[in-house]
């Protein structure tokens, strides 16, 4: 039993009925690594930016959770500010992941986080502090980064 059938099906569904703002590059040889582009939602400091995201499925997928990483630098409390750019999503934690969870849900949640960062579950606590103490400075910084790295 391999996971290829499931992955192909999930990819097909996302291709036929895409999530707004999420573009998935065709998967040909390597179906365990998806290259994705996410558009920064309007009305957020990430607007007009295009963020390259790598979705990695473990060989045990869907019994183990996928990981999601930003290849484009982004100033966001839920994305680690290092060379990995890992996005911290509650449902991707080993304990919370269920094999019935779908990649559509994962990507929708990731998009939702771009729209409104989750300050209660952040990897970059310094950004959260800035959002609380000086929101304008956060917005300005995030806009600058978007302009520098994602446009």
């Amino acid at each position: 039993m391999s996971s290829s059938k499931r992955i192909t099906k999930e990819y097909g569904e996302l291709e036929n009925d895409p999530i707004p703002g999420v573009t998935i590059k065709p998967i040909d040889q390597d179906m365990y690594n998806w290259d994705i582009e996410m558009s920064g939602p309007a009305g957020t400091p990430y607007a007009n930016g295009t963020f390259k995201v790598r979705l990695t499925l473990p060989t045990e997928y869907p019994f183990k959770p996928p990981t999601i990483a930003f290849k484009t630098k982004i100033y966001h409390p839920n994305v680690s500010n290092d060379d990995k750019g890992n996005m911290c999503l509650g449902m991707l934690r080993t304990d919370d992941w269920k094999p019935s969870c779908k990649l559509r849900t994962v990507l929708t949640l990731a998009m939702k986080l771009l729209n409104e960062p989750d300050t209660n579950d952040a990897v970059e606590t310094s950004i959260v502090e800035q959002m609380k103490s000086n929101h304008d400075a956060y917005v300005q910084r995030a806009k600058e980064w978007t302009k520098t790295y994602a446009v």
Partner: protein, 517 residues
């Protein structure tokens, strides 16, 4: 096995603590007249020791060590107890007990109130007694692998979430083998919190996975029971049963010795840290992690900014300092504000300025507290280090023991005093090490003096024994008697210190500078 009672004190497990002391206690008594005659306190203490011998020392706790088989038996016994009351078969009773974290009384209470609800909550609803089975369902497509073969076996629990048997199996294998889950595995469906019961696991899992599942369930028994703790030694499979509760840890330090030989604290799982209570031990370790490495250097090379107390290193020649943090400008020499210096900075003739004096006072205070910490830390670290060196020395000495046997004509049994001395040194240094963490948090009063006297006596005895131990192998034979005496004596001093600190904790006599609850 029942909890060991007072009568059981003295059994094999309890002896491991001070066996070397007990062995040589008689010898000590004999030697006392010649060696320690002038120490009247010791005589008195020894009298007490003889009188009180059947009584348990205040620093020891009752406990038993349990093997894997004994743990399984304990669970079986409890299941047997409860199943007659509930009138449920063994399997169900075990699940109920696990669900209630082995709190028998709570389970019985709740069950008597509303048996159906208890069964339902624990995943043992009405249909439980039917054996779960695989089914072939027409037109079914598995949501996990997306397979829709009509001949495929499928399975669902009572929640009705159905998947193909292969996916269910792989899900369980992943949870059990790679995530180490057992009693809390949920249905594979997102949002469904129904617990996978053991019948399902038995139906689906391979023998290897099933065996691991049993082992893990056994482990949860120890994790669920507050009176049980795994021995923290790597690869050790014993658990320790001790009645000391987490809420009592400010009054007692429950040091236990596992069958594997590890001495550890039942309260926190850390290596033996008597006489320092768990809370102080944790605070101390945290402080050391933050401070010690750099504290020495800081003390030698830096001063604090008189305004914001940030630590400042002077790395240039100019005495006009500007604090990076608060931008305060001051003079490195007199610590007064730079503004008062005008152009006379080179003389630094503002020595009498009031503000400079205040700043220096403040700084002296913070220095003093750092120096106080370093005093205790250095002694703590030194005993830790010395214990390691003593141990290394013993490894070398062990080799020489063989040569000692041939050169001095002593028998194997006669050179064992070296091992006894080494063990005593290790144990005493471990205790001494933690007396310094204890002392760091101690408030000064009359009790402190008694404690410090005890600490000094033990330290002195340990250093003397340590010195004897360092002699070259060919001289060791001559100092045998002295070494045996000193070995007994350090054990004796250690017991006095532990007895005093343990009594003080029990009576809440010690006053600490920080909260230990």
């Amino acid at each position: 096995m029942a909890m060991s009672s007072d009568e059981e004190y003295g059994s094999d497990q309890m002896m491991s603590d001070d066996e070397l002391d007990a062995d040589s206690l008689g010898e000590l008594a004999g030697n006392l007249d010649s060696d320690y005659d002038n120490d009247a306190d010791d005589d008195q203490f020894l009298e007490n020791m003889r009188d009180d011998k059947p009584q348990k020392p205040a620093y020891e706790v009752d406990y038993t060590t349990l093997s894997d088989a004994e743990l399984r038996n304990k669970q079986k016994e409890q299941v047997e107890d409860v199943r007659h009351i509930l009138g449920q078969p063994v399997e169900q009773t075990a699940i109920l007990l696990r669900y209630f974290k082995w709190q028998k009384e709570r389970l019985i209470d709740k069950y008597m109130d509303d048996p159906d609800k208890v069964l339902e909550d624990a995943g043992l609803g009405a249909e439980w007694n039917d054996d779960p089975k695989l089914e072939k369902v027409r037109g079914f497509s598995c949501d996990i692998c997306c397979d829709d073969d009509a001949e495929m076996n499928t399975y669902s629990m009572r929640c009705g979430h159905r998947y193909c048997a292969d996916c269910y199996k792989q899900y369980l294998e992943n949870k059990i083998m790679s995530e180490g889950e057992s009693g809390r595995i949920q249905c594979p469906t997102d949002g469904c919190s129904r617990i996978v019961d053991s019948k399902t696991v038995r139906l689906l899992a391979s023998p290897k996975v099933l065996a691991r599942y049993g082992e893990l369930l056994n482990r949860t028994y120890v994790d669920d029971k507050p009176n049980l703790r795994w021995c923290p030694a790597p690869e050790c499979e014993f658990a320790v049963d001790c009645a000391v509760r987490q809420t009592e840890l400010h009054k007692i330090i429950p040091t236990v010795v596992c069958n594997c030989g590890l001495r550890f604290c039942f309260g926190c799982g850390h290596n033996d840290h008597q006489p320092c209570p768990c809370a102080l031990m944790k605070k101390w370790l945290k402080k050391c992690e933050d401070d010690s490495e750099t504290a020495n250097w800081i003390s030698a090379h830096t001063k604090e900014c008189p305004k914001c107390v940030s630590t400042i290193e002077k790395n240039g020649g100019c005495n006009h300092m500007t604090c990076r943090k608060c931008k305060h400008e001051f003079c490195w020499v007199c610590m007064g504000p730079w503004s008062e210096h005008g152009t006379n900075w080179y003389n630094c003739n503002r020595f009498e300025e009031k503000s400079g004096e205040e700043a220096r006072g403040q700084q002296a205070k913070s220095r003093a507290s750092l120096e106080r910490y370093l005093h205790y830390y250095n002694r703590y670290a030194n005993h830790d280090h010395s214990a390691k060196l003593d141990k290394d020395l013993y490894v070398k000495t062990e080799k020489k023991m063989t040569s000692l046997q041939s050169s001095s004509g002593m028998s194997w049994i006669e050179v064992q005093y070296l091992e006894a001395a080494s063990t005593a040194l290790q144990q005493c240094r471990q205790t001494l090490k933690w007396t310094y963490a204890f002392a760091f948090y101690l408030q000064r009063n009359n009790d402190t003096y008694i404690f410090e006297d005890n600490q000094r006596d033990l330290e002195m005895a340990v250093e003397q024994l340590s010195e004897l131990f360092e002699k070259p192998a060919d001289q060791l034979a001559a100092s045998r008697k002295e070494m045996v005496d000193k070995t007994a004596y350090v054990g004796h001093r250690r017991r006095i210190l532990l007895e005093d600190t343990a009594n003080g904790l029990r009576d809440e006599r010690w006053q600490f500078t920080t909260d230990i609850r």
